[in-house]
Symmetry: C2
Subunit: 174 residues, 2 copies
DNA sequence: AGCCGACATGTCAACAGTGGAATGTAGGGT
DNA sequence: ACCCTACATTCCACTGTTGACATGTCGGCT
């Protein structure tokens, strides 16, 4: 149920059409909360009916510009301050690790080395992002920087763990 | 589509009933890939129809004991060795971070401190698990240990990041 | 003998997310 | 004047996940 809050968050900055929102999902939010166009337009309808959004203006090609209402702002704040229950963590990576004993030691090691490589690659990609984004002074990018740092630390951790796990597997074999 | 592979992985060790599988999902796998009973029974049916499982024996109370077939084992191996595309990462935590500018600095700081606390709490919980599990020599627990270590490193990273983010927020305010 | 708790399976409605297709309009460049 | 691209919305079918409900039986304890 976080898509609605993502949309409220985006619209709290400034009004936008569904199309505008899609672009922002594709760029800034894609690594945090991806959404498809069907979802976005569907949710816009629901949120409007629920009174959290309103159609502030109509434009050319049937464009509807949505704006957040006071009620919507209240809901956004509620969600932000509420200490959510620990998010469900599903990890396909860990699921594979759990069943690694069904592979040969060589295959298992190869898998973990691959994990390390993938993590390293994504880490490099994030470093690239860091270099390319122009960090204006707007408050938005402060948050973006926090999220980026999280991603980089996460990838570093994944790589280190995978390399450590390779070692462990080697020890266990002896 | 990983539920099916989780089930194949469990059944590759030994045959089990839906009920047995549920218990294993609730204990060892709950932190990696939770599943509900409706899902498990539904998937058992689908996997059997697809020829990846077979009903190996019938027991008392309508108990059906499922066993993995050769085809199922092949599929499990395929899934384990295939380098999956980078898994979609949705993070409610980061989504909140993105919109932290809609809170007052005090509230935002409180949120991040809360995150640090939650991560620390989960870290302690995992340490507890580590102490309580009896690490037999069976190959299964080797994998379990790898997964556990991942969890602990992850929680440590989350806590450190959150404390760092509090600092950053403080700097930005000045 | 009777009962309770663990064993055991099945079904259903609802929601969230994916991916694709259909449809149409406005505006800028040639 | 024309066309292409970007803008813009809507609908649909399918899979995965959740949670609740319904139903029934075996085995051991009192």
């Amino acid at each position: 149920m976080s898509l609605r809050h993502a949309m409220l968050g985006l619209l709290a900055d400034r009004p936008a059409s569904g199309y505008d929102l899609m672009k922002r999902f594709e760029t800034s939010l894609s690594n945090v909360w991806p959404a498809t166009q069907s979802q976005v337009y569907g949710e816009l309808g629901k949120l409007t009916k629920a009174g959290l959004l309103e159609v502030a203006a109509q434009g050319p090609r049937g464009r509807k510009e949505y704006a957040i209402t006071d009620e919507g702002r209240a809901e956004l704040r509620r969600w932000l301050t509420e200490a959510g229950p620990d998010p469900v963590r599903r990890s396909e990576v860990l699921l594979r690790v759990f069943f690694l004993n069904h592979l040969t030691p060589v295959e298992a090691t190869a898998y973990l080395m691959g994990e390390a490589e993938r993590a390293a690659g994504q880490h490099r990609a994030l470093e690239e992002v860091e270099r390319n984004v122009d960090w204006g002074d707007d408050p938005l990018s402060v948050n973006g920087r926090l999220a980026l740092e999280y991603g980089m630390r996460f990838m570093a951790m994944r790589e280190e763990w995978a390399r450590w796990a390779v070692e462990e597997l080697g020890k266990a074999r002896r």
